[in-house]
Each structure stands twice: as C-alpha cells, then as structure tokens.
C-alpha cells in the first residue's frame, strides 16, 4: 500500500513537471468524454420529445377511425366513411374485455359567440369518459354527465383559451354562448393543459355532449373517431383483434371484404419510434466514442515519448533498487491519472455543452447518470489500457543500457 502511494506521488510529480504536455494529452480524453455525454444527451432528448408527444395522447391507446369511402371505384380520403356509429362504441365497451374507457368523438370547427365577442374554435362532441381518457380536469363547474348525453342537452365545457377570449376576467360558468347560432350553457372550464409537444394549444377547445353534437349541431348519424384505452399494455394486441372482429361482424363484412375502419395502436407506434431514436442515440454516442479512442491513442503516444525521454531516470531508479513492478506502476498510474482527470473535466465539459444546447438551442437534452458513468469508466480504462504497453516497455529496460542513454 505504501509503495502504491509512493508510485502515485511520483506519477503526479511527473505530470505536474510537464503541465502543458499533460493538459494537451488530457484534451483528447476531455473532448472524447464530453462528446459522448453531449451527444447521448441530445439523442435522449429526441427520444423524450417523441415519447412525450405520443404519451400526451394517452397510454395504451387504440384509435378507431372510419376507412376511406368508395363510390364507383373512386376512393375517398381516410376517415371519409360514415359507417362508424355511436352504437359501435357502446358495443365495444360492452363486449370487448380488458378495456378501461371507450370515447367516441365527433368534432368540427365553429364560430363561438358571447355578447359582442367571438372566437373560432374546435367544438368536440364527447361522452363523459373523454375526461378520463384525455386526463382532463375541470377547474370550475363540472364536466358533461351521462344524463346530459342522454337528453342531448345544450351544455358546453370550455378551455381556458376560449374562456379568456370570450369572457376575459368574467366567470363563464352559467353564462350562455352561441355555437352556430344555437345557445349553449357553459357548465365548466377546463384546467389549462398548455401546448402539446407538437405545438398545438390544447386549451383552445369547446366540449359538448356527443349526442348534441351529432343530432343538433352537425346533423350526422356517425362518429369521426373512437378512442379506446386498454387496461394494460400486454393486452393491446388481443383487444385490437377483438375490436376488429366485432366491428367486421357489426358492419357485415364477410370473408375477404376490406375493413371499412382502421385501428391504430399508439403503443406499437411508440415502440417503433423508440427503437429509431435509441438507434440515433447509439449512433451519436458511438461516433463520440471514437474520439475517446483517439484520445486514448494520444495517451499512448505521449507515454511512449515520455518513456524514451526518461530512459536515464528509469535506469537510475532501477540501479537504486526499483523493481519491474515499481516502474510499471509508476508509468501506469501516470496514464490512469490522465484518464481520471481528463474524464472528470470531460464530464463537466459534456454536461455544460448539453445545458448550453438545451438553453440556447430550441432543443431539450436529457442528462442521465448512465452515459456519465460509462464514459468515465471508459476513459479510465483507456488510460489503463493504452498505458500498459509504454509502462511495460519502461519496466523492461535494461538498467545498464538505460544508464548509458544520453
């Protein structure tokens, strides 16, 4: 132990007596470690963005939309069919197992008027389950009830953006607004959800009962979309299959007839996207790791020079009784110390760069312990690995030859 301590002290003295060279050697490691941390944090930032934007749509979600319409061989756009009914949603809820919520919606853009204020916004016809599936909270008043849904009541729950634009500071609850010239009583104001990750204002919305929207406002007998929340992730595929067979049966689609609806699985979309962004992170990280490797070769290069330059010193130490192990330890510690100090500075550098990117770029970065620990361990390992050859070369020097070296 004492001998090890001596070797550390000798190595540190040698590094200090050649400050400029030590710093330049460390620079390779600093840049390498810094780059790994910064690049991985960028990659993980991208992953987080993608995950958030999908998660904001709800977890374990299946989205059912009507398919494209067909008339005389002409295919319309997706969702243009009118075959998806409110009754389909009720049937799904009743017959398919492992479902938490089913939320059919029909929506359209309308001008909303209060007094002399007006505002153009999205009016969504929903069922009470919409609140749970979208994770909404009502700030003042209440949400739409089953009762209001059954009686096609003209009631509305509004988002904060709509509230601000129509009512200003006034309390909207109990007031009457006009949508498409029909009076709707405001029964609640949603708590603000802010912008979605794709930049959409989630508070710019008016919510009314689905039946009211279909029969009184839009005059349609179908729904535009059914959101289904599955109770657990591993049930997603089974539930999707059950829904598909149920709807085929209800829509009388026999044999090879094409579906007149489509079911999207957000979880599988997320998995695919996650795989892609993880690849991106690994790709960025491995490019950075190459620079770390180059830094390691820099250490080896300098250590080789250092050994040659200090041949006589090694000869003297050997003549005075230094063993193979003593000399080996001395030089190995030198290169490991370069790895350790370079690694620590590199961590600070990389974290700094990641912060700067998220602060000055329009881009968020995620710093976690894993890349920091990994790249630090790697830099120390590189110091050790690339130090072995020069240290061994030093330790194997013949003392007579070394003493004669000019």
């Amino acid at each position: 132990m004492g001998m090890f301590y001596e070797s550390v002290s000798i190595a540190l003295k040698a590094l200090l007596s050649n400050k400029m060279r030590s710093i330049l050697t460390m620079l390779g490691i600093i840049i390498g470690v810094g780059a790994v941390i910064a690049m991985v944090s960028v990659g993980m930032g991208v992953t987080q963005n993608v995950t958030n934007s999908i998660a904001s749509l709800g977890s374990n979600m299946l989205i059912i939309r009507p398919g494209a319409s067909m008339s005389g061989g002409l295919r319309g756009s997706a969702g243009s069919r009118t075959t998806l009914k409110y009754a389909d949603a009720i049937a799904i809820k009743k017959k398919v197992k492992d479902i938490d919520y089913v939320s059919p919606t029909a929506s359209s853009s309308y001008q909303v008027v209060y007094g002399n204020q007006n505002w153009n916004t999205e009016v969504q016809g929903v069922t009470p389950e919409f609140m749970a599936i979208r994770d909404l909270t009502v700030g003042a008043g209440s949400f739409i009830t089953e009762n209001e849904l059954a009686t096609r009541e003209r009631v509305a729950v509004i988002g904060t953006t709509v509230s601000t634009n129509l009512f200003g500071e006034e309390n909207p609850v109990g007031k009457v607004i006009r949508i498409n010239n029909q009076p709707f009583r405001v029964i609640g104001v949603l708590e603000s959800k802010g912008q979605s990750s794709v930049g959409q204002d989630q508070d710019d919305v008016v919510i009314i009962p689905l039946t009211t929207a279909m029969d009184r406002l839009l005059g349609i007998n179908y729904v535009r979309m059914i959101n289904v929340q599955v109770s657990s992730q591993d049930k997603m595929d089974a539930v999707q299959a059950d829904i598909e067979s149920l709807l085929r049966q209800r829509h009388h689609l026999i044999g090879k007839k094409e579906n007149d609806f489509q079911v999207q699985n957000l979880t599988s979309l997320m998995t695919t996207l996650n795989e892609t962004t993880t690849m991106l992170t690994l790709f960025l990280g491995s490019i950075a790791a190459i620079s770390l490797l180059v830094g390691g070769i820099g250490i080896m290069n300098i250590m080789m020079v250092s050994v040659t330059e200090r041949t006589r010193e090694i000869g003297i130490r050997k003549a005075l009784g230094a063993t193979f192990k003593n000399i080996m330890t001395q030089f190995l510690i030198e290169s490991v110390v370069i790895g350790v100090i370079g690694g620590l500075i590199g961590i600070a550098f990389g974290v700094g760069v990641a912060f700067a990117i998220s602060k000055f770029g329009s881009f968020n970065t995620v710093i976690t312990a894993a890349p920091i620990l990994l790249s630090f361990t790697f830099s120390v390992g590189i110091g050790l690995f690339f130090g072995i050859y020069p240290a061994r070369k030093a330790a194997l020097l013949d003392p007579i030859e070394a003493l004669r070296y000019e």
Partner: protein, 239 residues
C-alpha cells in the same frame, strides 16, 4: 553499519561474461577469481575495453555473469531473478557514478531518499535519514536545492550521500572524479578515504593512477582478466 557474516564480502570464482557478436563469441570477462574483504578499499584499473566496466556491472548486481559464482556476503547472486537483483542493489550496494545520475526535478534531499523509497521506508523517516546523511557529507545547507543549483563537487557529494543512505555493505564508485576539477576531486577522495577509515568496503573504478593510489588495493584488469593485484602506494601503470 551492516554486520557481515562471510569471510570475504565478495567472492568471485571463474566469472565469465560472453557476448554474442554476429556468429563470434567475445569474452568481456575471461575467468575472474577475486576475493574482497570487509573494509577493503579496492581500485579497479584498466584501459577501456579491458572488461573493468563489465566486472563493475556484475559486482554491482546490474548484470549477471554468463558462467561462474559470485558470492556477496556469502549469498550466491549469480543466478538471482531481476527482482531479487533489484532488491540486492537496493539493500547491499550503493552506487556513485561518473556523471552523478541525480534526478534533475527533485531536491538533493529527495534524491538522497530515493533508495529508501524503494526500501519501503516511511516519508518521515526518509526525510530524517536523508538530511542526516547529507550533513555527513557537509551539505546540510543545500538539502532543498535542486541538482542544477549545485556545483559538480556538491552534486557528487549528494550522490555519495544517496549511496550511503541505505547503509549498504559495499560502495561502488565508477570514475567518481571523472567529471570534476582538481579541488572537487580532492574533496571527494577525502570523503572516500574517510569512509574507508570508518570501515566501509569501497570498490572504485578509475583510470587515473593518482586516484587509484588512495586505495588500499589496486587491481589491474586486462583482456577480461585481473592481471595484477597490488597493495597501497605501489605505482601501477595502466598501459
């Protein structure tokens, strides 16, 4: 001073050192038999190429003989491993070189303490010992200077202090005055004579007859053999 146990502190029997040059064998040492006793001050003389440096390296445990037996204080060292040779150099032998061979970046005291580092002596004890030995060669006021701040004579005195610090059986000096002026040479030789009087065993390589004349015994090496073995004061011609 370390107590010796053997009759002769150095006992060489049939020492040969053979180098392979191309397909020819060259004998740097062609069979050396030599006894050196505790407390002797022996001067090794000889022209360059005579084999005296090779003999010195073997005596100093820096090199191994090709054949022959070398007993240092009764222990056979001819076949020791590299690590054991390092240990022997550290504990039993003190070196003084022609070009001093001090480490330039550390102080005189730290240079003197180097053999103690490899002997595993604690920092405090090293500090204490190295200053004491430096004082004994008259350099207590120079302990914290770096070698480049010292004169040639002072540097060699630091080197002698370093050779003495681990209290070795033998001091090996290879042309210790070769790089010094007359005044410093005189000072250094006085130190060696003082060490001899206090009972140290000293082996000194030189090609200057005046230096060799200080020794109690003069050995002439020629063509890899010891050709003359004379007492103190006998004038010996090298050539």
């Amino acid at each position: 001073m370390a107590q010796t146990k053997a009759e002769h502190i150095i006992e060489l029997r049939g020492i040969k050192k053979i180098y392979q040059v191309g397909d020819q064998e060259v004998a740097a040492l062609a069979g050396v038999d030599l006894n050196i006793d505790q407390g002797e001050f022996a001067a090794l003389m000889g022209p360059s190429g005579s084999g005296k440096s090779t003999l010195m390296n073997i005596l100093g445990c820096l090199d191994r003989p090709t054949v022959g037996s070398y007993k240092l204080d009764g222990d056979e060292v001819a076949n020791l491993s590299d690590d054991d040779l390092a240990l022997t150099r550290n504990r039993r032998i003190g070196f003084v070189f022609q070009n001093f061979n001090l480490l330039s970046r550390i102080s005189a005291a730290e240079n003197v303490a180097l053999p103690l580092v490899y002997a595993g002596v604690s920092r405090r004890e090293r500090e204490e010992k190295s200053r004491k030995v430096l004082a004994s060669v008259g350099l207590s006021d120079r302990a914290d200077h770096q070698p480049n701040e010292l004169s040639g004579g002072q540097r060699q005195r630091v080197a002698i202090a370093r050779a003495l610090v681990n209290d070795p059986h033998i001091i090996m000096a290879d042309e210790p005055t070769g790089n010094l002026d007359t005044k410093s040479t005189k000072e250094i030789m006085e130190i060696f004579e003082g060490l001899h009087e206090s009972g140290r065993t000293i082996i000194l390589v030189t090609h200057e007859p005046e230096i060799a004349a200080c020794a109690s015994r003069q050995l002439l090496v020629r063509d890899g053999r010891i050709t003359r073995d004379a007492g103190k004061g006998e004038k010996m011609d090298v050539v």
